[in-house]
Amino acid sequence: MRTYIIRRCLQSFIVFGAILIIVFSMLQITGNPAAVLMPLDSTDEDIQAFSKEMGFDQPIPIQFAKFILGSDLVDNLLGSEREKEKIDELERDPDAPKIVRTKGVIRGDFGFSYRHEIPAMGLVLEHFPNTVLLALVAVLIAVVISIPAGVLSATFRNTWIDYTSSVGAMFGQSMPNFWLGLVLIIVFAVYLGWLPTSGYDAWYYIILPSITAGLYATARITRLVRSQMLDVLGMDYVRTARSKGIVEWLVVVRHALKNASIPVVTLVGFELGILLGGTVVTEAVFAWPGVGFLVVDAINNQDYPIVQAAVALLAFVFVFVNLVVDILYAWLDPRISYS
């Protein structure tokens, strides 16, 4: 068990390293990052000057080292005179663009947002609680609906309850959630006027976005609960419990549901990870002020430091939640051995 946890932690560490490489490469894959960042009508000289200022003219490994460790550390290590002079000069000049001086990912610095001229990670962290809130409420709604639906579906197999729930789950898995969001707005905000269309000013603003974000998870968990319950209800110990004369609902809840719950807990955790890693589309539909909304806005403004910071943060959260879920799974179910 301990070996398994250490191995899983190490693996997560590598995954996160790989993600940082991807995040760093984002600007490099365009071939000429300076050209992507500059306005469309810039001259070639402008682009070259900017490229030099940003350090895009340096070898890729050095750029990567600076991205991770920070320009000052790397320059000190390499003893590069040119860079030292440049940094001194920038320190003295209050008008110099701040984007050049990055302290590196290890110190939580992803550079400055080009548009807002404040640290990109700070801006992302400011929006992050809204994404967490949306993801948590979405998972809560998913659990509250899907577990009773799945249990009833399995208990009353091949009755109208089962059919309704199964058909609902099938639709839920096939429905693009941004479309559900639009339909909910049409019905509850425009037609009935019960709820607001977008934004976040009071608690009830979260109702429609969280239903939308939780749709897929609800459908998926319902299907898993149903199939797990069907497996367990056929087991000998359930028959024993029944033959002892225990009332049926107690058999279902205490004997069957409890034993069917391990894979379900895993899936719930996994879905939470997915939601934390990206409720982008839902946030876009409802103008929900989370990280996804910020990223879509940043993409439209070519403000890539924000995109990089957001991808790195959400990926970190996603990897971390998965790690916790896997360890939890191993702990809950000791029958599974991990070599």
């Binding site: 590598i14 995954v15 693009p176 990870g273 589309v281 995109v307 990926a315 998965n322």
Partner: protein, 309 residues
């Protein structure tokens, strides 16, 4: 993820003396007759494929024809020339029904192309990893595990934005994720299949490695890959629409379902039909593909039940 791993590594018992029963194809048709949802799926998917192949035959009007005189007309609107706009018009006076029919093209092209590209990569990598084992397998499996732990949607959006939204970039970015699924399942299958006597026999008769991989092993994983392809086609179609919805799809004026939904978003209070109908067709298409996928899975590969859940 955890659930998937275990299901994918289960071993199969192949009964050597099994009599030859009805073929997979015959079984599939027999099963289809007993499943009304799958019949609906097959019917609707065929319909969408026909729309995508010959949209000009079915599209009542020109999907690109703009006229501000027809701005946001409700479904059933008839203009002076007597043309009927069955599902209404959008903010540029274009016919929604015609645009839905033409829009099926992008959805299907992206979905099918992404399935094929990711399938080719994933099957090849999976067969190699499973057959050779050893360090090749270790390296490939680590890469797959790592890549699967990256949250996909946000990364896809960023990559498409940076690479530029074109048909091929969208397909590539979507395929970047899905090949992992094929590779992992095919690897697990090959691990058990290669222990069979027919593989040893092939080696003994002097077959080359490439021949063993693609003539002997591939046919045995083919049905599994068909099931994955169908189960993932729906997801790819949804991802393409999501990208288009965020303005990162195939650029206008080409009609796409996701792009139409994005148009409709600005007019939810005045013209609900713009956002309603394209999404309805999108959902029915994905639903149909999924129903077909469930049916294929049950017929071809009952062991994969867990994988889809």
């Amino acid at each position: 993820m955890v659930v998937d791993d275990r299901a994918a590594t289960l071993d199969i018992e192949i009964d050597e003396d099994m009599e030859r029963g009805p073929s997979d194809f015959q079984l599939a048709i027999q099963e289809l007759k007993r499943r009304p949802p799958a019949i609906f799926g097959a019917f609707f998917v065929s319909l969408v494929i026909i729309f995508a192949l010959v949209p000009d035959l079915f599209s009542p009007l020109d999907p690109l024809s703009q006229d501000l005189g027809r701005y946001l007309k409700a479904p059933g609107y008839v203009d002076k020339a007597g043309d009927v706009y069955w599902l209404g018009t959008d903010q540029q006076g274009r016919d929604i029904l015609s645009r839905i029919i033409w829009g099926s093209r992008i959805s299907l092209i992206v979905g099918i192309a992404a399935v094929i590209v990711s399938g080719l990569i994933g099957i090849t990598v999976g067969i190699f990893a499973g057959y050779f084992g050893g360090w090749v397998d270790t390296v490939i499996s680590r890469i797959i595990d790592t890549a699967l732990a990256v949250p996909f949607i946000l990364l896809a959006i960023s990559l498409v934005a940076i690479l530029g939204p074109s048909l091929q970039n969208i397909v590539l970015v979507i395929a970047l994720r899905t090949w992992l699924v094929y590779a992992r399942v095919v690897r697990a299958e090959v691990l058990s299949i290669k222990e069979n006597e027919f593989v040893t026999g092939a080696k003994a008769t002097g077959c080359g490695t490439i021949r063993i991989l693609f003539i002997y092993l591939f046919p045995n994983v083919a049905s599994t890959t068909i099931v994955i392809a169908t189960l993932y086609l729906g997801r790819m179609i949804i991802i393409e629409s999501a990208l288009s919805f965020l303005g990162l799809g195939v650029p206008p004026p080409t009609p796409t379902w996701g792009g139409m939904l994005a148009d409709g978003r600005s007019f939810l209070d005045t013209a609900w039909w713009i956002a309603l109908f394209p999404g309805l067709i999108l959902m029915l298409t994905v639903l149909s593909v999924n129903l077909l996928g469930d049916w294929l899975r049950d017929v071809l590969d009952p062991r994969m039940k867990r994988l889809a859940e």
